[in-house]
Amino acid sequence: MELHRKHGARSALSDEAIISLYWDGDRKAITETDFKYGKYLYTIIYNILHDKLDCEECLNDAYLGAWNAMPPARPQVLKAFLVTISRRIAIKRYHKLRQKGAVPSEMTVALAEVEDFIAENSSAEEAFDAKQLGQIISRFVRSLPQRQRYIFISRYYAAEPIDTIAKELALSLSMIHKELAAIRTALKETLESEGYSV
């Protein structure tokens, strides 16, 4: 996906300055956030939803979310904070859209890769603790070597296309597929040992 946004020759504010704008209730905070991180956030959302209108709405919701969160929040790393908000909003919309029909996005493809042990629509009657699963995933990710860690988060958190990951790491597509297969095998074992099943 190519995005073309012309901002003229000016440099972005520091994260600290942008956060101060949020804290001062200055609307410029959103303009500056969009200038500095809009493109990347759009990419994250686009990977999940693959629809321009949906993406723009989610991006607006994400900025509104950031506006409502700061203050009281004062994120250590603004980019990570914005990515978390954007992804949550996009994922929520993704699952709503999935109930109505197929969503032709990279997220759908990424989820299909793990259908072996993560069901598309299992009735989740048993009590589910997202935080606990988050901890298990975090421990699993930490156990991976640096490169696999990067590939895992790129593919399953950010839903990055495989060829993008391959280009970033300067590796072949087959190598990324091989690494992903190894990650999935280890992930399946981890989840099963923790009592998670389809």
Binding site: V77, K131, Y150
Partner: protein, 338 residues
Amino acid sequence: MNQQQWNEGLDHMDEDLLRNYLTAKDQYVHKRRNRQRFFHVAAAAACLCLIVGVLLLVQHYRNNIPQIGNYKRIQLTGNTLGESVSSYITQDTAIVNEAKENLPTQLPIYKITPRKITSKEFQAMKERLGLPDSDSPLFGVEKDRNKVDGRFTYYATGTFTMSEEELEALAWETFHKLSFLEGDYTYYGIRGEDTISAYDGEIVTSVLVSFYRQLDGVRVIGNDRCDMWFNDDGLVEIHIALYDYKQIGTMDLIPLENATSRIKTPDAFSLEGSLNSAVETLRVDRINLVLVNQHSNDCTILQPVYNFIGTAIGNNETEVGFSSKIIAIPESYTYEAD
């Protein structure tokens, strides 16, 4: 588990993993852009090659393109987090950054080569400093390739009563007698002292002063050293290790902003005193860059490190100095030591 639950679980993944991922992504994207830029330059260079010949192009390539991923990464020692310091720095520890430094985003890549001290240079040094031949098992001066080590009196003898000005003048006088010390050196001042306990208190018998090598205004630390001990009688001990540095390219530094976010989880951390409580606030007063020479560990280039210096304030309002060091060379240039 279904897909929605899986995605909710991912949303609760530890934030530091996401932060590290985003940092790594920035570096990979930057590296990719550099790679693309490189291809443009290479295409132009290929045209030039028709004129100046293949040989010159290869020479140009070898001399100027950083060897991405080829350098063994330095290892910092000291009180790292996860050991004793983890009990001081907690998630609640606040960071107050008052540093205003404007640090470079790129630095030259310097290849390290030990600079051999010749017998002639060594002999000249002994004559200029008036040092005897090493015929005593305890005292004397010796040379080993790029190093000079000598001691000329007992640790417990002598006194040190000089003023700082007198000491600096004496140190420079000695320094200028060492003709093999080339390049830009800075006088650091007193770094240590030898003392003995007497009935009426401690007596300083000698003090250690150091000179630091500088490259482009950045201090070199690690194996490169020029340490001298003095007492009132003059030079009592000397330790020198010499290295040559040749620029072979240019490296990007990890953004200061990214390093700043890691002040609490650095590569090395030290407190200048003891705090009897957890650290409530780390106030960064200044940030500087240092270049680390770990040539003896097969690290063939100087590697930059951000040094965050400031004050750690405890829950009980106790204050001590701290230093938080973060390796500034991107991981993409290096591989980890075994």
